[in-house]
Protein backbone atom coordinates (compact mmCIF):
# COMPACT_ATOMS: atom_id res chain seq x y z
CA UNK A 1 0.00 0.00 0.00
CA UNK A 2 1.18 3.46 -0.80
CA UNK A 3 1.61 6.08 1.89
CA UNK A 4 -0.45 9.20 1.39
CA UNK A 5 1.85 12.24 0.80
CA UNK A 6 -0.12 13.97 3.53
CA UNK A 7 1.58 11.70 6.06
CA UNK A 8 4.98 12.93 4.89
CA UNK A 9 3.93 16.54 5.31
CA UNK A 10 2.50 15.73 8.72
CA UNK A 11 5.86 14.18 9.68
CA UNK A 12 7.69 17.32 8.58
CA UNK A 13 5.21 19.41 10.56
CA UNK A 14 5.55 17.44 13.78
CA UNK A 15 9.33 17.19 13.58
CA UNK A 16 9.47 20.96 12.99
CA UNK A 17 7.39 21.56 16.10
CA UNK A 18 9.99 19.63 18.08
CA UNK A 19 12.85 21.53 16.46
CA UNK A 20 11.03 24.77 17.24
CA UNK A 21 10.56 23.68 20.83
CA UNK A 22 14.25 23.06 21.45
CA UNK A 23 15.51 26.00 19.44
CA UNK A 24 13.20 28.49 21.11
CA UNK A 25 14.04 27.31 24.63
CA UNK A 26 17.65 28.11 23.88
CA UNK A 27 16.84 31.71 22.94
CA UNK A 28 18.13 34.05 25.60
CA UNK A 29 15.27 35.89 27.39
CA UNK A 30 16.80 39.28 26.61
CA UNK A 31 16.18 38.59 22.92
CA UNK A 32 12.54 37.62 23.26
CA UNK A 33 11.31 40.78 21.54
CA UNK A 34 13.54 40.26 18.47
CA UNK A 35 12.38 36.63 18.51
CA UNK A 36 8.79 37.78 18.14
CA UNK A 37 9.58 40.21 15.35
CA UNK A 38 11.68 37.69 13.43
CA UNK A 39 9.09 34.90 13.76
CA UNK A 40 6.64 37.45 12.46
CA UNK A 41 8.82 38.11 9.44
CA UNK A 42 9.40 34.46 8.60
CA UNK A 43 5.74 33.50 8.97
CA UNK A 44 5.17 35.89 6.08
CA UNK A 45 6.69 33.20 3.86
CA UNK A 46 2.98 32.74 3.21
CA UNK A 47 3.79 35.16 0.40
CA UNK A 48 4.70 32.11 -1.74
CA UNK A 49 1.03 31.13 -1.58
CA UNK A 50 0.05 34.68 -2.44
CA UNK A 51 2.38 34.75 -5.47
CA UNK A 52 0.92 31.53 -6.85
CA UNK A 53 -2.59 32.81 -6.17
CA UNK A 54 -1.92 36.10 -7.92
CA UNK A 55 -0.14 34.86 -11.03
CA UNK A 56 -1.20 31.34 -11.83
CA UNK A 57 -4.48 32.19 -13.38
CA UNK A 58 -5.86 30.07 -16.19
CA UNK A 59 -8.12 32.83 -17.36
CA UNK A 60 -6.85 35.70 -19.51
CA UNK A 61 -7.99 38.30 -17.04
CA UNK A 62 -5.17 38.96 -14.57
CA UNK A 63 -7.55 40.76 -12.21
CA UNK A 64 -9.87 37.87 -11.55
CA UNK A 65 -11.36 37.88 -8.02
CA UNK A 66 -9.06 35.08 -6.91
CA UNK A 67 -6.04 36.97 -8.26
CA UNK A 68 -7.01 40.17 -6.49
CA UNK A 69 -7.01 38.36 -3.16
CA UNK A 70 -3.57 37.07 -4.08
CA UNK A 71 -2.28 40.56 -4.84
CA UNK A 72 -3.68 41.93 -1.59
CA UNK A 73 -2.02 39.09 0.31
CA UNK A 74 1.28 39.96 -1.42
CA UNK A 75 1.08 43.55 -0.19
CA UNK A 76 0.30 42.49 3.38
CA UNK A 77 3.00 39.85 3.49
CA UNK A 78 5.54 42.24 1.92
CA UNK A 79 4.87 44.83 4.64
CA UNK A 80 5.58 42.13 7.17
CA UNK A 81 8.68 40.73 5.52
CA UNK A 82 10.43 44.06 5.07
CA UNK A 83 9.10 45.53 8.30
CA UNK A 84 9.81 42.43 10.35
CA UNK A 85 13.38 41.78 9.21
CA UNK A 86 14.39 45.44 9.25
CA UNK A 87 13.01 46.17 12.69
CA UNK A 88 14.72 43.02 13.98
CA UNK A 89 17.97 44.19 12.42
CA UNK A 90 17.52 47.59 14.05
CA UNK A 91 16.93 46.06 17.47
CA UNK A 92 19.78 43.56 17.26
CA UNK A 93 22.20 46.32 16.27
CA UNK A 94 21.51 47.95 19.65
CA UNK A 95 22.62 45.01 21.76
CA UNK A 96 26.17 45.82 22.71
CA UNK A 97 28.65 44.40 25.13
CA UNK A 98 30.32 46.43 27.85
CA UNK A 99 33.33 48.31 26.54
CA UNK A 100 36.44 47.15 28.34
CA UNK A 101 38.41 50.37 28.02
CA UNK A 102 36.63 52.68 30.37
Amino acid sequence: MEIDPFIFRLSIFILSIFIGYYVVWSVTPSLHTPLMSVTNAISSVIIVGAIIAALASNSENIFDTANIFGFMAIVLAAVNIFGGFLVTQRMLAMYKKKKKDK
Binding site: T28, M36, S43, V45, I47, G49, N58, Y95
Partner: protein, 465 residues
Protein backbone atom coordinates in the same frame (compact mmCIF):
# COMPACT_ATOMS: atom_id res chain seq x y z
CA UNK B 1 9.70 27.01 -15.14
CA UNK B 2 11.32 24.92 -12.47
CA UNK B 3 10.47 21.32 -11.69
CA UNK B 4 8.26 20.60 -8.71
CA UNK B 5 10.91 18.43 -7.09
CA UNK B 6 13.60 21.06 -7.42
CA UNK B 7 11.39 23.78 -5.98
CA UNK B 8 10.44 21.48 -3.09
CA UNK B 9 14.14 21.11 -2.27
CA UNK B 10 14.64 24.87 -2.35
CA UNK B 11 11.65 25.34 -0.04
CA UNK B 12 13.24 22.85 2.33
CA UNK B 13 16.47 24.86 2.28
CA UNK B 14 14.63 28.05 3.09
CA UNK B 15 12.87 26.25 5.95
CA UNK B 16 16.28 25.20 7.30
CA UNK B 17 17.56 28.77 7.04
CA UNK B 18 14.60 29.90 9.14
CA UNK B 19 15.55 27.37 11.81
CA UNK B 20 19.07 28.84 11.79
CA UNK B 21 17.58 32.32 12.10
CA UNK B 22 15.91 31.37 15.37
CA UNK B 23 18.96 29.44 16.49
CA UNK B 24 21.06 32.59 16.11
CA UNK B 25 19.00 34.32 18.77
CA UNK B 26 20.53 32.15 21.49
CA UNK B 27 23.08 34.91 22.02
CA UNK B 28 23.33 38.55 20.94
CA UNK B 29 26.65 37.88 19.14
CA UNK B 30 25.18 35.33 16.74
CA UNK B 31 21.79 37.01 16.41
CA UNK B 32 22.67 39.37 13.56
CA UNK B 33 23.99 36.47 11.51
CA UNK B 34 20.77 34.62 12.33
CA UNK B 35 18.69 37.47 10.97
CA UNK B 36 20.74 37.35 7.78
CA UNK B 37 19.93 33.64 7.40
CA UNK B 38 16.27 34.52 7.80
CA UNK B 39 16.45 37.10 5.04
CA UNK B 40 18.31 34.68 2.78
CA UNK B 41 15.66 32.01 3.38
CA UNK B 42 12.94 34.48 2.45
CA UNK B 43 14.73 35.54 -0.75
CA UNK B 44 15.10 31.91 -1.80
CA UNK B 45 11.44 31.16 -1.08
CA UNK B 46 10.18 34.16 -3.06
CA UNK B 47 12.49 33.49 -6.00
CA UNK B 48 11.43 29.86 -6.19
CA UNK B 49 7.77 30.88 -6.06
CA UNK B 50 8.37 33.20 -9.01
CA UNK B 51 10.19 30.55 -11.00
CA UNK B 52 7.63 27.84 -10.31
CA UNK B 53 4.85 30.03 -11.66
CA UNK B 54 6.99 30.90 -14.66
CA UNK B 55 4.51 33.42 -15.95
CA UNK B 56 6.68 36.40 -16.83
CA UNK B 57 3.93 38.36 -18.50
CA UNK B 58 2.21 41.55 -17.39
CA UNK B 59 1.12 39.88 -14.18
CA UNK B 60 4.74 39.66 -13.18
CA UNK B 61 5.12 43.42 -13.41
CA UNK B 62 2.05 43.96 -11.28
CA UNK B 63 3.45 41.55 -8.77
CA UNK B 64 6.72 43.47 -8.47
CA UNK B 65 4.80 46.70 -8.04
CA UNK B 66 2.69 45.27 -5.23
CA UNK B 67 5.75 43.76 -3.61
CA UNK B 68 7.50 47.11 -3.67
CA UNK B 69 4.47 48.96 -2.32
CA UNK B 70 4.20 46.58 0.64
CA UNK B 71 7.95 46.48 1.10
CA UNK B 72 8.38 50.23 1.23
CA UNK B 73 5.51 50.62 3.69
CA UNK B 74 7.13 47.95 5.87
CA UNK B 75 10.59 49.48 5.61
CA UNK B 76 9.22 52.93 6.41
CA UNK B 77 7.47 51.64 9.54
CA UNK B 78 10.55 49.67 10.62
CA UNK B 79 12.79 52.73 10.53
CA UNK B 80 10.35 55.21 12.01
CA UNK B 81 8.88 53.24 14.89
CA UNK B 82 10.13 54.23 18.35
CA UNK B 83 11.35 51.31 20.46
CA UNK B 84 8.72 51.97 23.12
CA UNK B 85 6.02 51.21 20.56
CA UNK B 86 7.41 47.75 19.79
CA UNK B 87 4.53 45.81 21.42
CA UNK B 88 1.87 47.45 19.27
CA UNK B 89 4.05 47.11 16.17
CA UNK B 90 4.36 43.36 16.71
CA UNK B 91 0.61 43.09 17.34
CA UNK B 92 -0.06 45.04 14.15
CA UNK B 93 2.26 42.80 12.14
CA UNK B 94 0.53 39.70 13.50
CA UNK B 95 -2.77 40.99 12.20
CA UNK B 96 -1.27 41.32 8.70
CA UNK B 97 -0.02 37.72 8.69
CA UNK B 98 -3.48 36.61 9.80
CA UNK B 99 -5.22 38.57 7.07
CA UNK B 100 -2.75 37.39 4.42
CA UNK B 101 -3.52 33.80 5.43
CA UNK B 102 -7.24 34.48 5.06
CA UNK B 103 -6.73 36.01 1.61
CA UNK B 104 -4.60 33.13 0.36
CA UNK B 105 -7.20 30.66 1.64
CA UNK B 106 -10.01 32.57 -0.09
CA UNK B 107 -8.04 32.67 -3.30
CA UNK B 108 -7.41 28.93 -3.08
CA UNK B 109 -11.08 28.34 -2.42
CA UNK B 110 -12.20 30.42 -5.40
CA UNK B 111 -9.61 29.08 -7.80
CA UNK B 112 -8.60 25.60 -6.61
CA UNK B 113 -7.37 24.43 -10.03
CA UNK B 114 -4.32 26.65 -9.76
CA UNK B 115 -3.18 24.93 -6.59
CA UNK B 116 -4.06 21.42 -7.82
CA UNK B 117 -6.75 21.05 -5.19
CA UNK B 118 -9.53 19.84 -7.45
CA UNK B 119 -12.24 22.02 -8.98
CA UNK B 120 -14.60 24.67 -7.71
CA UNK B 121 -17.43 22.86 -6.02
CA UNK B 122 -15.42 19.64 -5.91
CA UNK B 123 -12.37 20.51 -3.84
CA UNK B 124 -10.50 17.64 -2.22
CA UNK B 125 -11.83 17.06 1.31
CA UNK B 126 -8.40 17.17 2.96
CA UNK B 127 -7.53 20.46 1.23
CA UNK B 128 -10.89 21.89 2.21
CA UNK B 129 -10.32 21.06 5.87
CA UNK B 130 -6.79 22.49 5.76
CA UNK B 131 -7.79 25.73 4.08
CA UNK B 132 -10.79 26.18 6.38
CA UNK B 133 -8.60 25.83 9.45
CA UNK B 134 -5.97 28.11 7.94
CA UNK B 135 -8.58 30.74 7.12
CA UNK B 136 -10.29 30.40 10.49
CA UNK B 137 -7.12 30.71 12.59
CA UNK B 138 -5.93 33.49 10.31
CA UNK B 139 -9.16 35.41 10.84
CA UNK B 140 -8.97 34.96 14.62
CA UNK B 141 -5.37 36.18 14.53
CA UNK B 142 -6.38 39.17 12.42
CA UNK B 143 -9.16 40.61 14.59
CA UNK B 144 -7.55 39.47 17.85
CA UNK B 145 -4.33 41.28 16.97
CA UNK B 146 -6.23 44.40 16.02
CA UNK B 147 -7.89 44.48 19.44
CA UNK B 148 -4.50 43.88 21.08
CA UNK B 149 -3.03 46.68 18.96
CA UNK B 150 -5.80 49.11 19.96
CA UNK B 151 -5.37 48.24 23.63
CA UNK B 152 -1.59 48.62 23.54
CA UNK B 153 -1.81 51.86 21.61
CA UNK B 154 -4.23 53.23 24.19
CA UNK B 155 -6.95 53.85 21.58
CA UNK B 156 -9.05 51.29 23.41
CA UNK B 157 -9.06 51.07 27.20
CA UNK B 158 -6.69 48.41 28.54
CA UNK B 159 -9.30 47.42 31.11
CA UNK B 160 -10.85 44.00 30.60
CA UNK B 161 -14.31 44.03 29.01
CA UNK B 162 -16.40 41.25 30.47
CA UNK B 163 -20.04 40.32 30.27
CA UNK B 164 -22.17 37.44 31.40
CA UNK B 165 -22.04 34.25 29.41
CA UNK B 166 -18.94 35.43 27.56
CA UNK B 167 -17.09 32.15 27.76
CA UNK B 168 -20.17 30.19 26.78
CA UNK B 169 -20.58 32.34 23.66
CA UNK B 170 -16.92 31.86 22.73
CA UNK B 171 -17.26 28.12 23.21
CA UNK B 172 -20.39 27.99 21.04
CA UNK B 173 -18.73 30.07 18.33
CA UNK B 174 -15.71 27.76 18.39
CA UNK B 175 -17.90 24.69 18.11
CA UNK B 176 -20.00 26.20 15.34
CA UNK B 177 -16.81 26.75 13.28
CA UNK B 178 -16.04 23.03 13.56
CA UNK B 179 -19.61 22.10 12.63
CA UNK B 180 -19.57 24.44 9.64
CA UNK B 181 -16.29 22.99 8.41
CA UNK B 182 -17.88 19.55 8.62
CA UNK B 183 -20.86 20.65 6.54
CA UNK B 184 -18.63 22.53 4.13
CA UNK B 185 -16.81 19.29 3.38
CA UNK B 186 -20.10 17.50 2.93
CA UNK B 187 -21.88 19.98 0.71
CA UNK B 188 -19.12 22.20 -0.78
CA UNK B 189 -21.42 25.20 -0.41
CA UNK B 190 -19.73 28.57 -0.87
CA UNK B 191 -21.76 30.39 1.75
CA UNK B 192 -20.56 28.07 4.51
CA UNK B 193 -16.96 29.06 3.82
CA UNK B 194 -17.80 32.77 4.17
CA UNK B 195 -19.70 32.04 7.35
CA UNK B 196 -16.69 30.25 8.84
CA UNK B 197 -14.54 33.31 8.18
CA UNK B 198 -17.16 35.71 9.56
CA UNK B 199 -17.57 33.74 12.80
CA UNK B 200 -13.80 33.46 13.19
CA UNK B 201 -13.43 37.23 12.83
CA UNK B 202 -16.00 37.73 15.56
CA UNK B 203 -14.39 35.11 17.78
CA UNK B 204 -11.03 36.87 17.49
CA UNK B 205 -12.53 40.06 18.90
CA UNK B 206 -14.40 38.30 21.71
CA UNK B 207 -11.33 36.29 22.73
CA UNK B 208 -9.13 39.32 23.34
CA UNK B 209 -11.47 41.98 24.80
CA UNK B 210 -11.69 40.37 28.29
CA UNK B 211 -7.90 40.35 28.68
CA UNK B 212 -6.39 43.28 30.54
CA UNK B 213 -3.35 45.45 29.84
CA UNK B 214 -0.69 43.71 31.89
CA UNK B 215 -1.65 40.30 30.54
CA UNK B 216 -0.65 41.58 27.12
CA UNK B 217 2.67 39.71 27.11
CA UNK B 218 0.66 36.47 27.09
CA UNK B 219 -1.78 37.73 24.46
CA UNK B 220 0.94 38.87 22.06
CA UNK B 221 2.80 35.58 22.40
CA UNK B 222 -0.43 33.68 21.92
CA UNK B 223 -1.31 35.60 18.75
CA UNK B 224 2.25 35.00 17.57
CA UNK B 225 1.58 31.32 17.99
CA UNK B 226 -1.78 31.52 16.16
CA UNK B 227 -0.21 33.28 13.19
CA UNK B 228 2.18 30.34 12.96
CA UNK B 229 -0.59 27.72 13.02
CA UNK B 230 -2.49 29.67 10.38
CA UNK B 231 0.60 29.66 8.14
CA UNK B 232 1.01 25.93 8.73
CA UNK B 233 -2.63 25.32 7.77
CA UNK B 234 -2.09 27.16 4.49
CA UNK B 235 1.19 25.27 4.07
CA UNK B 236 -0.68 21.96 4.18
CA UNK B 237 -3.20 23.25 1.64
CA UNK B 238 -0.48 24.39 -0.77
CA UNK B 239 1.68 21.35 -0.01
CA UNK B 240 4.57 23.71 0.65
CA UNK B 241 7.37 22.54 2.95
CA UNK B 242 8.74 26.01 3.70
CA UNK B 243 5.35 27.13 4.98
CA UNK B 244 4.79 23.98 7.03
CA UNK B 245 8.21 24.19 8.70
CA UNK B 246 7.87 27.92 9.36
CA UNK B 247 4.35 27.57 10.68
CA UNK B 248 5.44 24.87 13.10
CA UNK B 249 8.44 26.92 14.26
CA UNK B 250 6.45 30.10 14.80
CA UNK B 251 3.58 28.22 16.39
CA UNK B 252 5.76 26.49 18.94
CA UNK B 253 7.80 29.64 19.53
CA UNK B 254 4.69 31.62 20.42
CA UNK B 255 3.38 28.81 22.60
CA UNK B 256 6.65 28.64 24.56
CA UNK B 257 6.69 32.40 25.06
CA UNK B 258 3.10 32.30 26.34
CA UNK B 259 4.12 29.56 28.74
CA UNK B 260 7.12 31.55 30.01
CA UNK B 261 4.94 34.64 30.50
CA UNK B 262 2.26 32.70 32.39
CA UNK B 263 4.94 31.18 34.58
CA UNK B 264 6.28 34.66 35.31
CA UNK B 265 2.87 35.54 36.71
CA UNK B 266 2.20 32.17 38.33
CA UNK B 267 -1.06 31.93 36.47
CA UNK B 268 -2.42 29.17 34.34
CA UNK B 269 -2.77 29.81 30.64
CA UNK B 270 -6.52 29.31 30.92
CA UNK B 271 -7.01 31.90 33.63
CA UNK B 272 -5.25 34.45 31.42
CA UNK B 273 -7.31 33.51 28.37
CA UNK B 274 -10.55 33.64 30.29
CA UNK B 275 -9.48 37.11 31.31
CA UNK B 276 -11.09 39.58 33.64
CA UNK B 277 -8.05 39.72 35.94
CA UNK B 278 -7.81 43.08 37.67
CA UNK B 279 -11.48 43.89 37.15
CA UNK B 280 -12.49 41.39 39.82
CA UNK B 281 -9.83 42.36 42.30
CA UNK B 282 -10.63 46.05 42.56
CA UNK B 283 -13.16 45.56 45.35
CA UNK B 284 -10.61 43.94 47.65
CA UNK B 285 -8.17 46.80 47.24
CA UNK B 286 -10.64 49.50 48.23
CA UNK B 287 -11.43 47.94 51.59
CA UNK B 288 -7.72 47.71 52.30
CA UNK B 289 -7.27 51.43 52.03
CA UNK B 290 -6.50 52.26 55.61
CA UNK B 291 -3.90 54.95 56.03
CA UNK B 292 -0.45 53.57 56.58
CA UNK B 293 2.62 55.71 57.07
CA UNK B 294 4.68 56.21 53.94
CA UNK B 295 8.10 57.80 53.75
CA UNK B 296 8.39 59.99 50.76
CA UNK B 297 11.34 61.99 49.56
CA UNK B 298 12.62 64.18 46.79
CA UNK B 299 15.42 63.93 44.27
CA UNK B 300 17.99 65.30 46.72
CA UNK B 301 17.27 62.60 49.32
CA UNK B 302 17.46 59.97 46.65
CA UNK B 303 20.72 61.32 45.26
CA UNK B 304 22.20 61.32 48.76
CA UNK B 305 21.26 57.68 49.31
CA UNK B 306 22.58 56.56 45.96
CA UNK B 307 25.82 58.52 46.28
CA UNK B 308 26.66 56.76 49.51
CA UNK B 309 25.90 53.32 48.16
CA UNK B 310 28.50 50.99 46.74
CA UNK B 311 26.08 48.89 44.73
CA UNK B 312 22.77 49.67 43.07
CA UNK B 313 20.28 47.39 41.33
CA UNK B 314 17.81 49.00 38.96
CA UNK B 315 14.39 47.41 38.52
CA UNK B 316 12.63 48.77 35.43
CA UNK B 317 8.99 48.19 34.55
CA UNK B 318 6.29 49.31 32.20
CA UNK B 319 6.26 52.78 33.80
CA UNK B 320 9.76 53.37 32.45
CA UNK B 321 8.49 52.68 28.93
CA UNK B 322 5.52 54.99 29.38
CA UNK B 323 7.71 57.83 30.65
CA UNK B 324 10.41 57.08 28.03
CA UNK B 325 12.88 57.27 30.89
CA UNK B 326 15.45 54.77 29.60
CA UNK B 327 17.90 57.38 28.29
CA UNK B 328 17.66 59.51 31.43
CA UNK B 329 18.24 56.35 33.43
CA UNK B 330 21.37 55.47 31.47
CA UNK B 331 22.74 58.97 32.07
CA UNK B 332 22.16 58.58 35.79
CA UNK B 333 23.93 55.24 35.74
CA UNK B 334 26.88 56.74 33.83
CA UNK B 335 27.31 59.29 36.61
CA UNK B 336 27.12 56.53 39.21
CA UNK B 337 29.76 54.50 37.42
CA UNK B 338 32.11 57.47 37.44
CA UNK B 339 31.79 57.39 41.22
CA UNK B 340 32.73 53.69 41.24
CA UNK B 341 29.30 52.47 42.16
CA UNK B 342 28.43 49.01 40.89
CA UNK B 343 25.20 49.07 38.89
CA UNK B 344 23.20 46.20 37.47
CA UNK B 345 19.69 45.83 36.10
CA UNK B 346 17.12 43.26 37.21
CA UNK B 347 14.38 42.31 34.78
CA UNK B 348 11.29 40.37 35.68
CA UNK B 349 9.99 38.06 32.93
CA UNK B 350 6.69 39.92 32.64
CA UNK B 351 8.00 43.47 33.05
CA UNK B 352 6.53 45.58 30.28
CA UNK B 353 3.96 44.68 27.69
CA UNK B 354 5.72 41.97 25.72
CA UNK B 355 8.45 39.38 26.28
CA UNK B 356 11.85 41.08 26.43
CA UNK B 357 10.34 44.58 26.25
CA UNK B 358 12.62 46.05 28.92
CA UNK B 359 15.75 44.50 27.41
CA UNK B 360 15.12 46.22 24.10
CA UNK B 361 14.55 49.59 25.74
CA UNK B 362 17.74 49.32 27.77
CA UNK B 363 19.64 48.21 24.68
CA UNK B 364 18.28 51.24 22.87
CA UNK B 365 19.66 53.46 25.64
CA UNK B 366 23.08 51.84 25.09
CA UNK B 367 23.04 49.76 28.25
CA UNK B 368 25.44 46.85 27.64
CA UNK B 369 23.49 43.59 27.75
CA UNK B 370 25.94 41.94 30.16
CA UNK B 371 24.82 44.36 32.89
CA UNK B 372 21.21 43.23 32.52
CA UNK B 373 20.11 40.16 34.46
CA UNK B 374 17.07 37.92 34.61
CA UNK B 375 15.16 37.25 37.81
CA UNK B 376 16.85 33.95 38.72
CA UNK B 377 20.31 35.30 37.98
CA UNK B 378 20.10 38.32 40.24
CA UNK B 379 17.52 37.61 42.92
CA UNK B 380 20.10 36.47 45.49
CA UNK B 381 22.13 39.65 45.05
CA UNK B 382 19.53 42.00 46.51
CA UNK B 383 20.52 41.03 50.06
CA UNK B 384 24.09 42.27 49.44
CA UNK B 385 23.05 45.45 47.69
CA UNK B 386 22.75 48.92 49.14
CA UNK B 387 20.07 50.49 47.00
CA UNK B 388 17.32 49.10 44.80
CA UNK B 389 16.03 51.68 42.35
CA UNK B 390 12.54 50.64 41.24
CA UNK B 391 11.44 52.63 38.22
CA UNK B 392 8.02 51.95 36.78
CA UNK B 393 7.65 48.43 38.17
CA UNK B 394 5.17 47.54 40.88
CA UNK B 395 3.49 44.14 41.22
CA UNK B 396 6.69 42.30 40.31
CA UNK B 397 8.34 43.64 43.48
CA UNK B 398 5.45 43.02 45.87
CA UNK B 399 6.67 40.89 48.81
CA UNK B 400 3.07 39.90 49.52
CA UNK B 401 3.37 37.32 46.72
CA UNK B 402 5.67 35.38 49.03
CA UNK B 403 3.75 35.76 52.30
CA UNK B 404 0.01 36.07 51.83
CA UNK B 405 -1.77 33.01 50.39
CA UNK B 406 -4.95 35.11 50.11
CA UNK B 407 -3.39 37.51 47.66
CA UNK B 408 -4.28 37.08 43.98
CA UNK B 409 -0.61 37.25 43.08
CA UNK B 410 0.48 34.73 45.73
CA UNK B 411 3.14 32.40 44.37
CA UNK B 412 4.17 34.69 41.55
CA UNK B 413 7.95 34.90 41.36
CA UNK B 414 8.97 38.40 42.51
CA UNK B 415 12.19 40.36 42.76
CA UNK B 416 13.38 40.46 46.39
CA UNK B 417 13.99 44.20 46.39
CA UNK B 418 12.96 44.56 50.05
CA UNK B 419 16.16 42.75 51.03
CA UNK B 420 18.26 45.71 49.94
CA UNK B 421 19.41 48.17 52.59
CA UNK B 422 17.18 50.80 51.09
CA UNK B 423 14.64 50.89 48.30
CA UNK B 424 13.93 53.90 46.13
CA UNK B 425 10.54 53.57 44.49
CA UNK B 426 9.77 55.96 41.65
CA UNK B 427 6.04 56.11 41.07
CA UNK B 428 3.48 58.73 40.23
CA UNK B 429 1.14 57.94 43.13
CA UNK B 430 0.35 55.32 45.73
CA UNK B 431 -2.26 53.73 43.50
CA UNK B 432 -2.16 49.97 43.32
CA UNK B 433 -0.67 48.25 40.30
CA UNK B 434 -2.36 46.25 37.62
CA UNK B 435 -3.34 43.37 39.89
CA UNK B 436 -5.32 45.90 41.93
CA UNK B 437 -3.50 45.12 45.15
CA UNK B 438 -1.55 47.32 47.48
CA UNK B 439 2.20 46.94 47.40
CA UNK B 440 3.47 46.13 50.87
CA UNK B 441 6.81 47.56 49.88
CA UNK B 442 5.50 51.16 50.01
CA UNK B 443 5.13 51.00 53.79
CA UNK B 444 8.42 49.36 54.66
CA UNK B 445 10.93 51.09 56.91
CA UNK B 446 13.64 50.99 54.30
CA UNK B 447 11.53 52.28 51.41
CA UNK B 448 11.65 55.84 50.21
CA UNK B 449 8.87 56.76 47.83
CA UNK B 450 9.70 59.23 45.07
CA UNK B 451 6.44 60.57 43.73
CA UNK B 452 7.12 61.94 40.27
CA UNK B 453 7.27 61.18 36.60
CA UNK B 454 9.97 58.57 36.12
CA UNK B 455 11.93 60.54 33.54
CA UNK B 456 11.85 63.84 35.41
CA UNK B 457 12.80 62.23 38.73
CA UNK B 458 15.73 60.39 37.16
CA UNK B 459 16.99 63.60 35.56
CA UNK B 460 16.67 65.47 38.87
CA UNK B 461 18.59 62.80 40.73
CA UNK B 462 21.38 62.99 38.17
CA UNK B 463 21.59 66.75 38.70
CA UNK B 464 21.89 66.25 42.45
CA UNK B 465 24.58 63.61 42.32
Amino acid sequence: MISANLSAIFYLISGLLFILALRGLSSPETSRQGNFFGILGMVIAITVAFLSVGNFSTGFLYLLVFLLIGGSIGAFIAFKIPMTAMPELVAGFHSLVGLAAVFVAISAFLNPEVFNLGFSGAIKIASLIEMSFGASIGAITFTGSIIAFLKLRGIMSGAPITFKGQHLINLLLGLSIIVLIFYLCKTQTDSLFWRIIAISLLLGILLIIPIGGADMPVVISMLNSYSGWAAAGIGFTLENTALIITGALVGSSGAILSYIMCKGMNRSFFSVILGGFGAVEQSSSSENKKQKPVKSGNAEDAAFLIKNASSVIIVPGYGMAVAQAQHALREMVDTLKKNDIKVSYAIHPVAGRMPGHMNVLLAEANVPYDEVFELEEINNDFANTDVAFVIGANDVTNPIAKTDPQSPIYGMPVLDVEKCKSVLFVKRSLSPGYAGIDNDLFYRENTLMLFADAKKMTEDITKNL
